[in-house]
Structure formats: C-alpha cells, structure tokens
C-alpha cells in the first residue's frame, strides 16, 4: 500500500467503513510506516475532538418567525387560498392550440385576400388617360424640347403621358 492511499482512506478506516481486507491492509501499513502512523494518530485526535463537541442548540423555535415571513411574503395559505399550481402544457392542449392557430391564420388570409389582389392589379388601359390627367393636374412638369434647336414648349399633358406610359423616345 502507498502512503498516499493510506492517507486518503485513513478516516474511512477509522470510521469502520472499509471492507475487512482493506482494513487489514491499513493496519499492516500503519504498523510498518511511522509517517502514516502519525497520520492515523492525528486523525484519531481530530475525531475525538469533533466527537466531544456538543450539538449547537437553537435558542428559540423558528416556526413563528418563519410563519411571519411567509405571511409577509404572501406565501402563507388561508381558508380561501387555492394551492399555487404551476401551468403545465399537456400534449392535447398543445395540439388544440396548434389547430386553433392554423384556423385563425387561414381565416385572416381569406379575409385579406381581395385587398391584396386589388393592390397588385394593373391599371386597365381605358383608365390610363384619366390617371395621367390626374397626375398632370396635381403636379405639372415643365419640359423644354431641345432637339429642334428652338425653344418649343411641349404640352405638359404629353410629356407627363410619355413619362408614365413610356411610349415616347
């Protein structure tokens, strides 16, 4: 047996918690090693001192103080108080809420769908002129035709139409 192993197991041996074969090895090692014999003596001394210590005693019952704290913190029970239950998700509840969520999503989609379609629809050709007129009326564009070399003022309406419909050069 190594001295380190003796040191580690010494207290367990003295407490009588080792198997008999191991205890016998400890006894033999103690008898043959002065250093480990000193460890065993010191260990016995510690155990004797600890064993002689009285159990510390409380001066007062802690229950009244504890009850006061519970009441102060609002944890105490009373006749009306229901036991505090933590909420647990059960598998059936999860499934139910999942189905409800999907149904709500579908309903919202169906309700919003016409609006979405309208927003992305193209302006019909027959309304083109009306749209251009409306834009030109609110914000006319001043444009100077430079290609003729002269200062020819184009019609606001035509320019605006060209920009919007894209049929100009």
């Amino acid at each position: 047996m190594k001295c380190r192993d003796f040191d580690i197991d010494c207290a367990e041996w003295l407490k009588g918690r080792l198997a008999e074969t191991r205890a016998e090895e400890m006894r033999r090692h103690e008898a043959s090693c002065h250093k480990c014999a000193a460890i065993a003596r010191a260990e016995r001394s510690v155990m004797a001192v600890v064993g002689a210590q009285p159990e510390p005693s409380l001066n007062a019952d802690l229950w009244p103080q504890l009850l006061h704290r519970l009441e102060r913190q609002g944890h105490a029970s009373d006749a009306q108080a229901m036991p505090a239950r933590r909420f647990h998700w059960r598998p059936t509840m999860r499934l139910g809420w999942g189905i409800a969520g999907v149904a709500a999503g579908l309903l919202a989609y169906m309700t919003m769908r016409p609006t979405l379609v309208d927003q992305t629809a193209m302006v019909p050709p027959e309304d083109e002129v009306r749209v251009v007129e409306m834009i030109a009326a609110t914000e006319p564009v001043r444009y100077v035709e430079a290609s003729t070399g002269g200062l020819e003022l184009s019609s606001d309406f035509e320019i605006q139409r060209g920009l919007l419909v894209g049929d100009g050069d």
Binding site: K15, I39, V49, V50, E55, P56, L62, L67, R69
Partner: protein, 209 residues
C-alpha cells in the same frame, strides 16, 4: 443544569418517529400549501440545520437567518422535489447553497473576519460550563482550537469537513449534498483533512499558520 446535547450518530438522517408522518409526506403537504406540513418539517429539522449552518458560517445570526431561508426555499420549491433523494439530503443541499451564497456576498463586501475563536466556540459549546472545571477547561481549549482550525479553512474545505466529521456523512451523502463526483470528492476531502490536521497541529504547538 443543562448538559450539552450529545451528537447523534447520523445527524443528516431522518428524525421521523414511527408514529409520525414521513418527511416525504410533510413535503407533499408543503407542495399542497398546507402550513402544517412546513411547521412539522421545521420543528423536526431546525436544530440539525442550524447546527450545520453555524459550523459553516461561524455566526449564530447568519446561521439562524440561513436556517429560515432553507425552510422558505423548501416551501417554495416543494412541488419541484422529485423524490429521488431523501428530503433531509435535499434540505442539506439547500443549506449548502445558501451558505455558499452568503460567503460570496460577504466576500464582495469589506472582509468581515470569520468569528473563529471565542464567539463561535462559545456559541457551539453552550452548556459545558457545568462539567468538572478542569475537563471543561480542557474541552473548551480543544473546542477553541478546532473552531480556529475550521475558520482557517477555505469555504469548500469547511463544507466537506463539517459534512464528513460533524454530520458523519458518508461519501454518497456528501456527493448528493455537494454535487461532487466520487473521485473529486475523495481527493478534495483528503486535502481538506490534511489542512485541518495541519491547522490543529499548529494550534496545539502554538505555531503560526
């Protein structure tokens, strides 16, 4: 006159009497928010936990406060107890965590010395004054040395020493309370025991640490 209470062989073990409700039953009552359950649990284990926490903290005030906190936490978390360990082991685990929190809070504040000598020894050795005068003196001296040595240990060493020697826990119980693996516990406990012996030897020979 009062004689000191003798240390029971297994202070961490259940103190339930045969005709009384089990610890598990009391805890189940706590989970159902029945105060009677907590009241019985408190009266059954308050002294044991107070003694344990006094040795860990070295202060009667801190130990009393920490003991109250153990039962408050047990009340609040009773419905989470899995019944895989004993209720007493669970209570001691809560106590260890509270003591650790207390030490870390104290470390973050200006250092307050661990009341290592007279105060702690007096708090723990109450009642020994009625013994024979010489025996009492000698016992008081040994007790003082022991508490001085305990005070010099690190918090984690003290935790292991108190559980192993004072509460007479075996490795399995200490593992459950501290959460250490068997190998780590065995090594750390051996080192803690060596340090305790060294401090005691120095105290007995009047040497400086």
């Amino acid at each position: 006159m009062n004689r000191p209470e003798t240390r029971s062989r297994k202070p961490i073990a259940s103190r339930q009497q045969p005709e009384e409700p089990s610890d598990e039953e009391l805890l189940a009552r706590c989970a159902r928010r029945e105060e009677r359950g907590l009241e019985e649990l408190t009266r059954r284990y308050q002294s044991q936990l107070y003694g344990f926490l006094l040795r860990l903290t070295g202060s009667p005030e801190d130990a009393e406060e920490a003991t109250l906190e153990v039962f408050l936490k047990a009340w609040l978390n009773a419905d989470r107890f899995q019944y895989r360990s004993r209720v007493t082991t669970w209570l001691f685990r809560i106590a260890v965590n509270i003591a650790r929190d207390l030490h870390s809070r104290k470390k973050s504040r200006p250092q307050e010395p661990w009341p290592e000598d007279e105060e702690a020894a007096a708090a723990i050795s109450t009642g020994s004054a009625e013994d024979d005068a010489l025996d009492a003196l000698e016992a008081a001296e040994r007790s003082k040395e022991l508490h001085s040595a305990l005070a010099k240990l690190s918090d984690s060493d003290r935790e292991l020493i108190v559980l192993y020697y004072f509460n007479d826990c075996d490795y399995d119980e200490i593992q459950q309370v501290t959460g250490l693996s068997y190998t780590v516990l065995k090594t750390r406990l051996a080192r803690a025991r060596q340090r305790l012996r060294q401090h005691l030897e120095r105290a007995q020979t009047g040497g400086n640490p």
